[in-house]
Symmetry: C2
Subunit: 269 residues, 2 copies
């Protein structure tokens, strides 16, 4: 079920700048027990994106009310939120746009084989590289062709693909963030100041590691650091946390930390 500006419809004007230029931002979040998980953090990132693009946000009180109303319709599911700059006359000039368009889409819960979370996934290395564009890094805008190209590189043999930037830094998965457990027990996750999406689940894991007293370094990471790691795991709001079982012929352990974090993820409200 889809609402566009509060009205049930699965259609949008062709002249919406979301289609014409990818001029907007989005979020995907879980619904558990009819409640949107980590909604505050998702809305925070959404608003950061709107600010980066100078899009006037919708009435947030009304938007949040609509989000909660949608969630009451599904005990467990997925909520997708999209805000675009709205309709404009021809041309890139954003000043021609009217009010933003707000879209809420309610879907069934994602069904992944439970083994992905318990026994780990097979990760591949994508050739598609991410461009450095700090103006668009970190938030979740609608310009996602790099992710589409990277995701097109692998089929059912792999559950996720690792993506680097053109400088050879490992950045993220096509749909998830990467955490690397090092031999000394500390954890790293790539710096996303030049490209990549700073996931809400990534933020939750970074915070949880701090609560557990485990060091988590945000820094540039080369492929070498992946090869010398003792464990890897990928995170996003829908999958939670998937450990990596295999990457480029190397088998990785699944340390007890993974289950500790997964348990924490399950308790998020």
């Amino acid at each position: 079920m889809i609402w566009v500006n509060g009205i049930i419809t699965d259609h949008l004007p062709v002249t919406d700048r979301g289609l014409l230029y990818g001029d907007g931002v989005w979020e995907t979040l879980c619904i558990n027990d009819c409640l949107p998980i980590l909604l505050d953090w998702h809305l925070k990132r959404l608003q950061q994106g709107l600010q980066a693009l100078s899009i006037t946000p919708p009435d947030m009180t009304q938007f949040i009310m609509e989000i909660h109303a949608a969630c009451t319709l599904k005990e467990n599911g997925i909520l997708k939120l999209i805000i675009t700059r709205g309709r404009g006359v021809r041309g890139y000039n954003p000043q021609s746009a009217g009010e933003c368009t707000r879209i809420i889409q309610l879907s069934d819960a994602a069904t992944y084989p439970p083994g992905y979370a318990t026994q780990g996934i097979c990760l591949t290395l994508c050739e598609t590289a991410l461009a450095h564009q700090p103006r668009l890094a970190g938030f979740k805008h609608l310009n996602r062709l790099e992710q589409v190209l990277a995701r097109a590189e692998f089929g059912a043999d792999f559950q996720e693909g690792l993506v680097r930037d053109y400088a050879g830094n490992v950045i993220e998965g096509t749909m998830s963030n990467l955490f690397v457990v090092q031999a000394d027990g500390s954890v790293c996750t790539p710096d996303l100041s030049q490209c990549g999406i700073a996931g809400v689940m990534r933020r939750f894991i970074i915070q949880t590691l701090a609560e557990l007293g485990i060091e988590c370094h945000i820094r540039p990471l080369k492929l070498e650091a992946i090869r010398t790691a003792t464990a890897l795991f990928m995170t996003n709001s829908l999958i939670g946390l998937w450990p990596v079982r295999e990457f480029q012929g190397k088998t990785y352990n699944i340390p007890p930390l993974v289950q500790v974090l997964q348990t924490r993820v399950k308790t998020i409200t």
Copy 2:
């Protein structure tokens, strides 16, 4: 008037990947005397883009028939063509998509003050820089946030903004391509292998310069080359060719070549 997959409608499904990821390509072209100008070249670039994104093209015979049918409705106007990968289930994987979506939009002709073409425009320098992404360079895809950010930088005092890449190379205008006339009479236009859109009008001008026996070099250009140039002009399919009157405090001449090229542009069929 808008047609989506051959049917008159101004709406598109929200689940179209054109909206969700900017997963598609587009063209804007002039209609003169009920005929689409340089249609073959526009369709060539459109198909190059579809190939780069591995999107299965529509039935081109049918699409061209629809384009010509639309053009008969307006003596002079603008035709916008959009091809998206179509609808998909959730996720970046393009294999989940069905057939592509084809959109044809017919609009009134653009009305620019005639002085822009005869007396030249004021050009400003944008701070927004383009990222290097050779996988997406040259063709006209729907991920256009960089252009939106650059265009947002200037108001009515300027008619176009010059955009560089992060290496400081001058690449293009926000909506047009750049040509630089040098002191020796030769012409340069920026290399677009890393970023930028290779305009159809740019292609026409490059070809016309060759026919006129004027050297045109496609190469990386720094701002210094703009400052030492004797003349600058910007091109796209809608504006044709606009000479630059002023850029960063320097006044540029409008050489006879500009009118020669503009006359050639007017004779395109």
